[in-house]
């Protein structure tokens, strides 16, 4: 089978690319291992909602138009939104089709699937940023009798064994899971490493309203000082709830969650934690302070001060004098460890020399290096800070399809449909 462009993945990113390709008259096919929005249906815990308020949830050609602009979509609502988008885009779609490999072939690429081989001049990888949980090597030394759970296995607190839970990682996933597991009567100890603290509401507006309005989320990948670091930052400690609550470490401490430093490893059934908890919290407090300073300066300079509430500053993260450095799992009734230690994209099926010495895909804002016509979309801070969020897909899809159109137009004169 031949086409100009193969798009791998029919989530919001793949559909957005299809929308932009169709608008440019590029012949293409979208290949999806499951059905539309597969990951959102199958790999998310039950209570999860988007971190982004509804009014900001938009993709090229479709924006939220419901009656709760300040709310946050549940996973069922996200799936419904993406299904609606799929009907609008009406892409040439092959669902239930798993891509087995992507190799160089002919004038461009060969995409081998379990239902046939596609030959194409260009390909767009839109298969998600969170395909595999990142679990530290220390997990191998977890003592027997303790369940090891990743956020991709995790569904709801009641599915965990009764007893204590060690949650490792204080990202959005970590704090959200810690909160609901603790409230289920399973006492939580939270191992805190580097994290990003943000208030849900600042000066009466959602923090993402500020990120959007100030242009902070539009900062481009090639303007960011340390892009490797920016792409690795844990997701901000945010939760989308109808009450628009702020879920930070102080809120968890108030709920009874015990904070400890970063997990160092396990030794003889005892978890060991680094002694840098205070430093990790101070760094996050200071960084939040700098963000709020930036927002306040912007508000003053742009005449927004009168539209919003006065500036606020928040209590520093409370850390006990000498946080515990060890935790005997059996003696403390810890039955489960949850690894909220991040996710990574699965590129193992891409059989091309496009990876660096650490196995990371080499790309310049989604334009894959050393593989003309190959693109990646839907990764953290791919082209802008907002690339990590659903609404960031619009600019990224337009930029990358413009690049793709120029490439297939120049290199493949007959390829335009």
């Amino acid at each position: 089978m031949h086409t100009t462009t193969v798009v791998v993945g029919a989530g919001h990113a793949g559909l957005a690319v299809s929308h932009c390709l169709a608008a440019r008259g590029i012949d293409h096919v979208v290949i999806e291992r499951g059905e539309v929005a597969h990951t959102w249906r199958t790999e998310r815990w039950e209570s999860l909602r988007l971190l982004t308020p509804n009014w900001l949830t938009r993709v090229p050609g479709l924006a939220y138009d419901g009656d709760d602009p300040d709310g946050f979509m549940t996973m069922a609502e996200v799936v419904a939104f993406i299904e609606r988008y799929a009907r609008l885009v009406a892409p040439p779609l092959e669902t239930g089709t798993t891509v087995e490999s992507l190799t160089a072939g002919g004038e461009g690429y060969e995409v081998v699937t379990d239902r046939g081989v596609w030959r194409c001049a260009s390909a767009v990888v839109a298969s998600g940023a969170c395909n595999l949980p990142k679990v530290p090597a220390a997990a191998a030394a977890l003592p027997g009798g303790v369940e090891s759970v990743t956020p991709m296995d995790y569904a709801r607190p009641e599915a965990l064994p009764e007893g204590g839970v060690l949650v490792v990682g204080a990202s959005a996933s970590g704090v959200q899971i810690a909160d609901e597991v603790h409230r289920s009567g399973r006492p939580v100890t939270l191992a805190v490493g580097e994290h990003v603290r943000m208030p849900r509401i600042y000066r009466g507006r959602d923090i993402l309203w500020w990120m959007d309005r100030t242009g902070l989320h539009d900062e481009r990948y090639d303007e960011i000082d340390d892009i490797v670091r920016a792409r690795r930052l844990p997701s901000p400690q945010l939760v989308g709830t109808p009450e628009r609550i702020t879920l930070n470490l102080n809120a968890l401490t108030d709920a009874g969650v015990r904070l400890v430093g970063p997990l160092a490893g396990f030794s003889d059934g005892t978890a060991q934690f680094g002694g840098s908890l205070r430093n990790k919290c101070t760094l996050a407090d200071l960084k939040q302070g700098r963000l709020l300073d930036t927002i306040d300066e912007w508000a003053a300079e742009n005449g927004v001060d009168d539209e919003v509430e006065p500036p606020q500053r928040f209590e520093a993260t409370r850390v006990e004098e000498t946080p515990p450095l060890t935790l005997d799992l059996a003696r403390n009734g810890i039955r489960t460890v949850i690894w909220a230690t991040g996710y990574e994209a699965d590129h193992s099926w891409i059989d091309l020399p496009v990876f660096d010495h650490k196995g990371r895909l080499r790309h310049d804002g989604g334009v894959v290096t050393g593989a003309p016509g190959l693109y990646r979309i839907g990764l953290n801070v791919l082209r802008r800070r907002k690339s990590s969020f659903i609404h960031g897909i619009e600019d990224d899809a337009r930029d990358l399809t413009a690049h793709l159109v120029a490439y297939v137009g120049a290199g493949e004169p007959g390829a335009r449909a």
Binding site: D226, V228, R229, R232, G261, A264, Q272, F273, G274, G275, S276, L277, R278, N279, T322, P323, L325, T326, K358
Partner: protein, 187 residues
């Protein structure tokens, strides 16, 4: 270990006194709480000077016999002036000094005469960590190796046991191999 005049024989460690102190702590455990102190002053570039004057222990303040001074800097390959040892080398000095003191003390208890004890210490570090070039690489040592060359009136097994026991009771070995809470504040 040249000064053996104050203590009986062997390696010159006053073990009686140390064992007496351990027994005394059974009665007054708070006497065992020590605070070790260093002050450090920036000089220029990466060069700084530390001094050690006194410490708290056995329920009171104590002065060292003299004020001990330590300087530290970074090497020429870091485009620094190399006025003194690098801080990480001073950490290795601490480890070696602690382990060697332990070897001598344990040998004394076991009535093993030491003739010479030499430790060589090497710490592996990838500076991609401290330069922020690769977030997967830690700042500190990835591995530390200590090699002892010991001449003593004892079997190779007994010498192995000396070195093993020294690690078991070493403060610096513990500090390097286990987490510790460190708080850094600005006054």
């Amino acid at each position: 270990m040249s000064d053996t005049s104050a203590t009986p024989g062997l390696n010159g460690v006053n073990v009686e006194h140390l064992l007496g102190a351990r027994n005394a702590l059974g009665e007054t455990p708070e006497a065992g709480l020590f605070k070790w102190r260093v002050t450090n002053q920036w000089l220029h570039g990466t060069h700084s000077a530390s001094s050690v004057e006194g410490y708290f222990g056995l329920g009171g303040e104590h002065d060292h016999k003299a004020t001990y001074k330590f300087e530290s800097d970074h090497p020429l390959v870091f485009a620094a002036e190399d006025n003194a040892a690098t801080p990480v080398e001073i950490v290795l000095v601490g480890l070696a000094s602690c382990l060697t003191a332990g070897v001598a003390a344990v040998a004394q208890v076991r009535e093993i005469q030491l003739r010479s004890v030499t430790a060589t210490v090497e710490g592996d570090m990838d500076i991609a960590g401290i330069l922020g070039a690769d977030p997967d690489i830690r700042n500190g040592f990835s591995n530390v190796r200590v090699t002892y060359d010991i001449d003593a009136d004892a079997s190779p097994e007994d010498i192995q046991a000396l070195v093993a026991q020294s690690q078991k009771r070493s403060a610096v070995f513990d500090i390097l191999t286990n987490p510790v809470n460190v708080s850094v504040e600005v006054s």
